[in-house]
Structure formats: structure tokens, C-alpha cells
Amino acid sequence: MASSSTSKPSLLDAAHAVTELLQQLINGLALGAIYALIALGYTMVYGVLRFINFAHSDIFMIGAFSGYYLARYFPSASILAGIVVLLGAMAICALLGVIIEKLAYRPLRGRSTLTVLITAIGVSLFLQNVGQRIFGANPKSFPALFPLRYYQFESGLVVSSAQITVFVVTILLLFVLQYIVLRTRIGTAMRALSFNPTAASLVGVNNDRVISFTFALGSALAAAGGILYASNYPSIDPLMGTIPGVKAFVAAVLGGIGNIAGAAFGGVVLGLVETAVVALGGSTYRDAVAFGVLILILLFRPTGLLGKRNAEKV
């Protein structure tokens, strides 16, 4: 269905094929980097609390809208203003994350994760519907926060500065998060809490504080994701979080949920698989194949690509 070129293969065609392959590789990596960026936030919260924060994708949306409104007070397309807006949105969402955790999740501490999951679904519905009331249902065009450039190569390959930014930021965050979790005091506390909450509090970890911090961090990541996503695809609406949210969730599980490097890796794998499906002519089945690959991988590696195999103790 995809390409119905009937001409005989020639050297020129081969060159075109290589160009298309490279372009699709770039497309896939850029898409994967975005999934990875959102998946990092999912994984942070999951890693500590062992529960899927369904509202993450809506905090992502709030992040994009915060950027949209903050950007009005700053000159457009300047790197400095862009960073200020980004940090502002991250701060707003961090605060929002902490409030949500206090009001909706904390009263359920110690209950089964499914109970918290339903509350998270409620929070997600709440944010979506409040968003539709406040921001309106029509999509809004996201302003150019950062200067946008396209790098066109002679062969026809195109890379945009926004794609490169996402890639760089994702890798940067990956290392920052690894550093926080593995090298800092609060990171040690997070790992202790994740391992055993009761034991952690016995050895002097302030569980409430650590969980608040985790939510602040996760929500700030969501905001960063939202703003970079909106910079790449400059059309935002109150339901914009749903699809990337599900995809990032898949990416996080694919990589082994709770594992920071796994989330990034899972995102890139998912982006590449989706792009490959389209490139091979299966655009109608893109989402189905993406899920199919996920299921196959999980059948052979039940805890994801980089997930630890936990031996069950009796």
C-alpha cells in the first residue's frame, strides 16, 4: 500500500531508499525521545510508591498550558526567556503535584495500590474536565519559546533544533535523575522507602517528605515534557496528555517500570517500532503493532527489557 513505485531499481533509487531510511530513523528517535521524557516522570513516582500515577499525563497537559500563559510575559524565541518559562512551569506543576499527593493520595497511604489507582483516575478526569472549563476545548497554538531552526542536508534529510533539544534534554535528565537517586541523600531515602517503607521510617527517613519530593520531581518532569512536547507539536488542548500518557506508560513498562534507564530505553524502542511500522506500510495498524510488540517482549521478559527479576520470597 505504501510505495507503488514501478520503475526499475537504479542507483538513484537506492540513494533515495537510504535517505528515507535515515530520515525515518531520525523521526523514530525524535518521537522515542519524547516518549522517554514523559516515561521518566512515570517511572520516578512508580519506583518509589509502586503505583501508576494516571494523573501524570494531565499534569503534563497543565505544564504545557502553564508555559502557554507564562510565555505571554516574555519575549518569544529567546533561549533565556524559554528557560525561565520552562522553570516557571516546572515550579507550578511541582506545587500542583505536591498538593494532589497531599489531598488525594496521602489519605490512602498503606491501602492497596488499586485504590490509589482509582483515585488517580479520578484526579486525571478532574484535571481534564477543569482544564476544558478553564482553558476551553479548542486547541491553542503554542508560542515559539525557543528559536527554531531546521538543518537540511543535501540528500534531503531534515533535522529540527526542537528535535535535537528534546534529545539532549532527555539524556541530560536521565543522568540528573540517576545522580539524584544514586548519589544524593534524598535519593538514598527514596530507594530506602521504595525497598521497605516501614523499615525506612524506622531508620529515620521522613516518609512524607520523601514522597512529597518524589511527586514534586515527577510533576516537574511532566511539565518539562509538556513544554518540550508543545514546542515540537505546537497545538495544545486539555486532552493532549491522554495519548502520549498511554504511550509513555507503555514505554515505562516496556523498559521495566521503576527503572530510570529502562524508561528512556523503552521510549526510544517504542518510537522506533512505531515509525518502522509506518515506514513498512502499516500506518493503519500502528498502535496495534506497538502494543503487539510490547506484549511479545513482556511474554519473554515479564519485567520489561531492563527490569530486575525479583525472586518471590515466601
Binding site: I52, A104, I257, L299, V314
Partner: protein, 312 residues
Amino acid sequence: MLSRSQLALLGALAVIGVIGFFSASYNPYFLDIAVSCGINITLAVSLNLINGYTGQFSLGHAGFMAIGAYSAAMLTATYGVVLLPALAGQEWLLFALALTAGGIAAALAGLIVGVPSLRLKGDYLAIVTLGFGEIIRVVLQNIDAVGGARGLIGIPSYTNFFWTFGLAAIAVYVVWTMVNSTYGRGFIAVADDEIAAEAMGINTTRYKITAFLVGAFFAGLAGGMYAHFRNFIVPSGFGFDRSIEIVVMVILGGMGNTGGVIIAAILLTVLGEWLRQFGDFRMILYSLLIIVLMILRPQGLFTWSLPRRRSA
């Protein structure tokens, strides 16, 4: 000699029959809500067998519903002309046949989804069932014979109060007797502690597969009922959000508490309509109520005993 639960089933069917007999005199709007309640009860009770009693977290119930809905609708809408004369023109017979076929098709899908549950746990199983549900939806979207994304029109209007609640009563009866039998204690054992259950000589594989098989079967029947109620189905109606709605009913009612789940299914269905009077704030209130109810009654609205301990 009939057992007590069998008597209860017959009694319920009789009451439903009497209420259904007079259904023409009820307001169509309220009747509509009642039928929606009945379908949701079947869905929630069947999901409760998988999620609640057996502890296998499934997020793909709408997928089973879709398979049942499309199979049943194909039989009546497309092949009805051929099949009806063969069944002596008896529409109820055709409907029963279509529903059963839909149920069996969904049960087969349940079998396929149940197999991964043997290797996967918790969130990993949840995402795999979610994936299966989405795959079913995408595939349906691409089949032109069932209308693709534009949906299947012209499904005859067979569903009524009696059929819906009759099915709900049977679903409740089957799940209830299964779980409360000696054999059925195995489901709860699997949910409580799989390793301990295995050590006690319980065939956990068989229980998990059975739960998926039976749960999917009834979801398929409910799907067929839904198709002949709305007379029009689209793949997007069986997406991830529909599955979530059913999961909310189960958890709000109390995992593994059939009575609570029934009440929650009714409550949430009626709540959605009742909140209409608040106009623009309807969905905001709906989501707030879910959060508040969950915080106030984390063990489920209608579970009065201490929550069962479960290994995460």
C-alpha cells in the same frame, strides 16, 4: 431439590419478568437508564471475577465486550435475513443464538489474554490486557465488513428489560456459586497468595484461565446486549476509557464483593445521569465524587469487613 442460590435466581428472574412485562408503561428515559444499569452490572460482576476474586488486574474488559458486540451484531444485522427463516422466524431464538455466539467468541479471546497472565503480574499484566483491548479496537477499526471506524448500523432492537436483567441475574448467579463452591475457594486463594495456593496443591494456572474465560464470556454477552440496545456500535465505544469505567465500578464496590459491585454499577450509572442537572460541572463533580468516595471508603463502598490482605 433446589439449592438456596438456585431459588434466589429463579425468584429474581420471576421478579424481573414481572417488571419487564409492564416495561411499556415506564418512561423510556428511565427504562434506558435501567437497561444501562443491567448491562453495567453484568460487566462489573464478570470483571470482578477476574480482578476481584482472582486478583488478576485486567484493563481490557471493553475489548471482550467489543468482540461479543460485533459477533452478535453481525449474526443478527448481517446474517439475520438468512438465519431467521431457519429459526422459524423466532426473533428471540436468533437473539439468544447471537448472544451466545458473541459470548463464546469473547471467551476465546479471554483464553488468549488469559495465557499471558500465567507469566505476568500486577502492572505488567494490566498493561498487556490494556494492549489487547486496544489491539481489538484498532483491528475492528480496520475491518470494512463491520463498518470500520464508521460503525455498524442497523442492528435490530432486541434488548429489553427482561433480557438485560435476566442476563445480569445469571451472571451474578454463576459468579456467586462458582466462588462460593469448594472448587471456587481456589480463586480467592490465588488472589490472596499465589505461592501459598500453589504449595497447597491448587492448580493456579487453571483457576486464572477459568476466571478469564468466564469473565470474558459474560462481557461478550453484555456486549451483544449493548449492541442490540443501542442499535449502532463503533470501535471507539470500546476503548480504554470504557474499560476504566468498569474497573472503577469493581473497585468502588469492593474487590471480590459481588453485592457491592452490583450497587456500585447501579450507583455510577445513575450518578452520571443524575449529575446532568449541574450542566457544565457534571464531569467535574463526577470525578470529585470518585476521589472523595475512594478516600472515605478505600476498602470499597460496600465492604464492611476489614480489607483482605493482598500481596502487591
